[in-house]
Amino acid sequence: MSNQDIEKQEFNITVYTENQIGLLNRIAIIFTRRKINIDSLNTSPSEIERIHRFNIVITESEDVVRKLCRQIEKQVEVLKVYYHTNEDVIWQELALYKVSTDVIAEKVSVERLLRENGARAVVIRKDYTVFETTGHREETDNLISILQPYGLIEFVRSARVAIIKDSDGFNRKLREFERLEPGEDVIENEYLNKGDKVFTM
């Protein structure tokens, strides 16, 4: 393993943007151009009406992540970019599992296993039952291997959503951005915020 591989870890990139057609592509090509795989990508509304929030997960060194974030922030409709390690965020993924209702009915142990893993039934039909669980990757992965022997029919997992532990949200910043003359917040950059774990420019 090269040094660079050792430095690589999961980073959570949070992007606040305007809601504009084509912006997803503009952001995605920043990664694909450099042949960097996006592990997970989620877009959703944010705490502010009409401001969108991207959660992007990639496995890279911090140096690369920092450069990528600058390229993303450079896009006209991007308001702000932050990156964090897994320790700096609260994150969850949602997974759905479809299994045969007959199997569950026959093998009581399956239901017990599901409950032990925090899954709950979303739909119970005669032919199949859909369970849902939310958690970290290892947890949702773990349930796959548990259900596999019992004939897991279908599995799907959502992209990751993450909340930044050390963040006051975006409302105050947005008001700064709306001013013609930018305030301190707008001009902050990482060199002035070396102590902060939050990446800002």
Partner: protein, 579 residues
């Protein structure tokens, strides 16, 4: 930027609402933005705009080009010499895709452009309609911003944003795709207000005194400081601020090819060109200086050579308006993020006046070594055949450095950049980042429209000329006065040079044949001459420059000359070769 500031201060033009079509609203917007020249080519999906243009021909000078690539390169040439935003029209489908090379070129060379493309009717989008192409997605990687208009009411605001984005901060190309229905649609036009602010876009940071202070301390303590400057100085209209800075600090300064001309070639502190075919001293001494001050340049790989052996001994001060450039390639000790027109005067104030006489002498020592090994033979050859360098030298003697030099891509480009004398800023127009062959002829046309009172001389190779020679038609029809010098070595010279040096002279498809260029020009009613004797050179150059209109001068030069010095790929700047 001065131009940007003027427009920011301009009063918004508001009239009583009048009913206009989307096309008319677009043209009204262009007029308020101060546009006087448009380079374009009509077609089906942009016909309503061209129909409206029929009534605006007294206010907007539309130049009919021969190919959309020619149109956009002309727009680039116009923007580069005038400092204004270049405006280009093209139709949908092939018209739009033909812009892509120019967009990529403008994107990497930070040239402000607003390109308007026609698009099929909105209800036909996605149906594979005639001449429909997904131009927004095709151009996303090569534009600073792009947007598709499907409703005429959006036009005033979108065009205002387009101009603001194209010219502010680090400039770049913007493409606006307008569906045919939006061009036709009538709406209540309530006047046009230039854009001054987009909340998600911060083109110009506030200057941080802390970093100016730190940069000044480094510079004041430096024994062997070295300035590298790029096009940022020109784009920021900071030539005077830059000159004051280096004159007070006494620091030797070298340029990237897009920065050339920001201060005159013969300024005593101008030590020459950086990069692969740059001057000897600037390359070698990059790895000897103690403080490297990079101003408005982006450490392109053609400038740095091998990055892990680049200026490792030096502390780096990097002034740039684009935060994404800081630490991208070269880690900075002090990042001075900002517009150099603002940051340079602040820095100048804090630095001590100095003269680095000994250090500067070192550059001059290298210059004399380079002169003996390379320059003498290039400018004053003893060979029977002419060299490219002597043509440029002779040209300098006639123009005295007052002309705008537009070069194409290849050996002649490196020779032109190395040897052309430039007295004024915005005088060296070339495709730097993308290296687009075929750039020069159309760019020279645009350059002349952008600087009508100056001589424009295009220096082009025999290969590159054949890529966009259709624009001779544009010269013929508009009567624009462009002087064309073809330096013909009957080879794709730069590739041949690499094949000679690195591929054991296996000359693979570089032996290019050319038509009779003079006869070709004559077919377009452009006078011309072909010379191969040295004795004819001054006379032919004078004839070209004294000719009232355009003129094509083909100079046959020696076939297998190489451009030196050269930093071979994968080598450090200190390993620059003189032969």
């Amino acid at each position: 930027m001065e131009v940007a500031q003027e427009i920011l201060n301009a009063p918004s033009v508001t009239k009583e609402a009048v009913e206009l079509s989307g096309s008319q609203a677009l043209l009204e917007a262009l007029i308020v933005e101060g546009v006087d020249t448009i380079f374009g080519y009509p077609g089906g999906a942009i016909m309503p705009i061209y129909d409206a243009l029929y009534d605006y021909h007294d206010k907007l000078n539309h130049i009919l080009v021969r190919h959309e690539q020619g149109g956009i390169h002309a727009g680039q040439g116009y923007a580069r010499t005038s400092g204004k935003v270049g405006v280009v029209f093209a139709t949908s489908g092939p018209g739009a895709t033909n812009l892509v090379t120019g967009l990529a070129d403008a994107q990497i060379d930070s040239t402000p452009l607003v390109c308007i493309t026609g698009q099929v009717f909105a209800h036909l989008l996605g149906t594979d309609a005639f001449q429909e192409t997904d131009v927004i997605n095709i151009t996303t990687p090569v534009t600073k911003w792009n947007y598709q208009v499907t409703d005429a009411t959006e036009i005033p605001e979108v065009i205002a944003k387009a101009f603001y984005i194209a010219k502010s901060g680090r400039p770049g190309p913007v493409l606006i795709d307008i569906t045919k229905n939006a061009q036709i649609q009538k709406f209540n036009f309530e006047g046009y207000t230039p854009c001054k602010h987009i909340r998600s876009y911060r083109p110009k940071p506030i200057v941080r005194p802390q970093y100016i202070q730190e940069a000044a301390e480094l510079i004041n303590a430096a024994k062997k400081p070295f300035v590298l400057w790029g096009q940022g100085v020109i784009l920021g209209s900071a030539e005077q601020e830059f000159k004051t800075f280096i004159e007070k600090s006494g620091i030797p300064a070298a340029w990237t090819i897009l920065g050339a001309g920001a201060i005159p070639t013969d300024h005593p502190l101008n030590v020459g060109m950086l990069g692969m075919h740059g001057n000897y001293g600037p390359n070698v001494l990059t790895n000897e200086c103690d403080v490297l001050i990079a101003i408005g340049m982006r450490f392109d790989d053609r400038v740095t050579g091998r990055l892990d052996k680049y200026a490792k001994q030096a502390k780096v001060v990097h002034l740039d308006i684009d935060p994404a450039e800081i630490d991208k390639n070269v880690k900075s000790t002090v990042p001075v993020w900002g517009d150099c027109k603002e940051t340079l005067p602040l820095l100048t104030e804090l630095i001590e006046p100095k003269k680095h006489t000994e250090w500067l002498a070192k550059f001059n020592d290298y210059t004399s070594k380079e002169f003996d090994a390379v320059i003498e033979a290039e400018l004053n050859p003893k060979t029977e055949e002419m060299t490219m360098g002597e043509v440029i030298k002779q040209l300098n003697e006639i123009t005295k450095g007052e002309a705008i030099i537009v070069s194409d891509v290849g050996q002649h480009q490196m020779v032109a950049c190395r040897y052309a004398k430039l007295n004024k800023t915005r005088s060296n127009i070339t495709s730097g980042g993308l290296g687009t062959m075929g750039f020069a002829l159309p760019a020279a046309i645009g350059a002349k429209f952008g600087a009508q009172d100056r001589d424009v001389i295009a220096i082009i190779g025999d290969g590159g000329f054949q890529m966009t020679l259709q624009e001779l038609g544009t010269i013929m029809q508009t009567g624009v006065n462009v002087k064309i010098i073809i330096l013909n070595n009957r080879f794709l010279g730069m590739v041949r040079q690499w094949q000679e040096l690195f591929n054991e002279r296996r000359y693979s498809f570089v032996d290019i044949q050319s038509p009779d260029f003079v006869a070709l020009a004559a077919a377009y009613r452009i006078p011309g001459k072909c010379i191969s004797d040295r004795a004819d050179l001054p006379g032919a150059l004078n004839e070209m420059l004294n000719n009232k209109g355009s003129f094509l001068l083909e100079v046959m030069v020696t076939k297998e000359n190489n451009v030196f010095p050269m930093v071979p790929q994968g080598c450090s700047v200190a390993e620059i070769r003189l032969k």
